[in-house]
Assembly symmetry: C2
Homo-oligomer: 156 residues x 2
DNA sequence: ATACATTTAATGTAGTAACATGTATTTATC
DNA sequence: GATAAATACATGTTACTACATTAAATGTAT
């Protein structure tokens, strides 16, 4: 269904406004889809995001600031997200020896286990996109999204 | 900058996972960009979304449920969003004569005025995308986003 | 060495969102 | 026409986010 039908707006002032609105709408739509899976595992989308980043680090520790940057998030929120992961036993936090202001965060085996339990459902959903989008189109979209973030007048 | 560089993740399990993550990331990125403009006008992104829908209705009233559907939002939150618009004088709420459970919402002249003040900046930002994306590419992206929302296994 | 600025993370506060529930009204079934 | 189910909206609760501030550690200039 086209974005025009979904939000019942017939006209847009430009292809760029339509894209901008469609991007936000589709991202929200995806968020709601994922929410259902996340709820089953008693984790939020943001908490999952942190865990995924931690897994990408393998056993290497990562600092709160670094996590926040990759998430486009504020340090303060990331701190509290990690609190939740700690309580649930999915992550560990140790003071960084070389810089005692910093905090080293690593994923625990329990955290890795959780992610591996969630992987199949997410992978299946992602691959379900192949019924409507070719791998080439997916790559094309990714590169166009990358381009969007490079527009000249980045500032509103 | 590619999504790989931005989130410092080198490998994805498929073009579809990369697209999925890139979509969320870019939408968040866009949200932060827009946040700055919204703050200047003492309005939130969600409140703006409602106002934009109301303007699209011209002088025709619209029900809370209908607004919530177009926003992919919950009724309860939309109720409170409209509360905020009321307080600021940007919208009006009247009991619907034909169905007294329902509430008719319309935008006020002040609301229209606010939107018209915000339009130029948003339009300028949107058109700034033309430095990196052609109108044809923007339309292509929109239609691919539409397709994404139609994938077979919609449910996780 | 000392003063001052910067960096890193955490916390207090207010606003916002998700979810469940409550209330009033309408629609459907008997 | 009475009762049950569905609909439209509002509200209470809990958790999350943005922002400002704080606290501690580090960097830098004199």
């Amino acid at each position: 269904m086209s974005i025009e039908t979904d939000i019942k707006q017939k006209k847009f002032r430009s292809p760029y406004q339509r894209l901008s609105i469609n991007l936000t709408y589709t991202s929200n739509w995806l968020g709601y889809k994922q929410l259902e899976l996340f709820k089953e595992h008693d984790i939020t989308s943001q908490q999952y995001n942190v865990l995924r980043i931690l897994r990408g680090q393998q056993s290497n520790a990562i600092k709160v600031t670094e996590i926040a940057e990759r998430m486009l998030d504020k340090n303060s929120n990331t701190s509290r997200l990690i609190d939740k992961l700690l309580v649930k036993g999915w992550a560990e936090r140790t003071s960084c020896p070389s810089d005692r202001r910093a905090v080293d965060v690593v994923i625990t085996p329990a955290g890795l286990d959780l992610l591996s339990k969630m992987d199949p459902a997410l992978e299946e959903w992602e691959n379900g996109l192949s019924s409507v989008i070719t791998p080439e189109e997916a790559d094309l979209m990714s590169s166009l999204l990358d381009k969007m973030r490079e527009a000249e007048n980045n500032n509103l």
